[in-house]
């Protein structure tokens, strides 16, 4: 044992790496199918006045994002969602945005236009918030599988990689087994 410091250092690195596998609270991790609960259905209007129901998307993987224009962390995620919509739309995926702005379309509509959101966006209400457990913090994002079940809930910003991996996992054929 010529240099015990090297072994000590190696040991510390090993411990660090072991701990690192547990450190990422937002690492992609979907709930097992048996533990998933059905996402409550709702009907809200989009910017054109058309009724959008969550159940309209049954058979698709849905990233249900509750956000607001006043929520700066929410706004960081929007470009990611635009990219996901573009990349996965043809594989049976959609993003569905529910804006929780009190001022409604007056502020949401200009934001959608300015930032070129390419997925359906509705304006939420207290009823939707309540049936989803009271979205006390934004963003809150629900990853919903093709059978309309919540496979993962993220409160706060999750990483772009996390969302993308979960979308891919839910789109994979074995994800419903």
């Amino acid at each position: 044992m010529k240099n015990p410091h090297i072994w000590l250092l190696a040991g510390l690195v090993a411990v660090y790496l072991a701990l690192s596998t547990f450190e990422d609270a937002d690492r992609p991790s979907l709930n097992p199918v048996s533990q998933r609960k059905v996402a409550p259905d709702f009907a809200l209007k989009d910017s054109s006045g058309k009724i959008v129901k969550l159940s309209d998307f049954r058979g698709k993987v849905v990233l249900l994002n509750m956000w607001a224009t006043w929520c700066a962390p929410c706004r960081e995620e929007i470009p990611w969602f635009v990219d996901f919509e573009r990349e996965f739309k043809d594989r049976g995926f959609t993003v569905l945005g529910v804006a929780m702005d009190d001022r409604g379309w007056d502020v949401v509509q200009p934001y959608i236009k300015r930032h070129e959101l390419n997925y359906p966006v509705t304006v939420g209400d207290s009823e939707v918030s309540t049936i989803y457990g009271g979205t006390g913090a934004l963003p809150t994002t629900f990853m919903i599988d093709r059978e309309g079940r919540i496979a993962r809930t993220h409160v706060g910003v999750a990483g772009r990689h996390t969302y993308k991996q979960e979308i891919q996992d839910l789109l994979a054929p074995e994800s419903t087994e």
Binding site: L19, S20, F22, E23, D24, A25, A68, T69, W70, C71, A72, P73, C74, R75, E76, M100, D102, V107, Y111, G133, G134, G136, A137, L138, P139, V155, G156, V157
Partner: protein, 154 residues
Amino acid sequence: MIRILAVLSIGIASVSFGQSINALTVAPAAPLRAKVGTTVEAKLQLQVRSGYHVQSNTPSDPYLIALKLTWNAGPLESAGVVYPKPQMEKYSFSDKPLSVFSGNFDVDTKFKVPANATPGPTAVTGKLRYQACNDNMCLPPKTVDVKLQVDIAR
């Protein structure tokens, strides 16, 4: 170990967000003594929960919700609210620094005591609107009632 604790604390925070969090508290203000016909200054002491910030009175973009103190019409006339200088803070979710308040800070109000004010104990009431975030998420905008006890003397 620190990393594990950090993950645990994130988990606990996430669970508790289903409930209402008070990210900002208003300290009970000392009663104000005011003489008829003068101008007095009242200090409202605010405390932002550790790890949180509130948007300042001059937020960095028009979508953000400004901190705003408004006083109802009453025995004293508000002659202007003075906010502290905002902090420009950079957060992981924003390319540019945001104009915010965090920690402890005061908001001052100048009140005119009308010449015809009735001497004796009274109160002025108002509302404080704010919107709080931490570096990962935001809480809905909130409006809280504020009250100042005033003793008007001749």
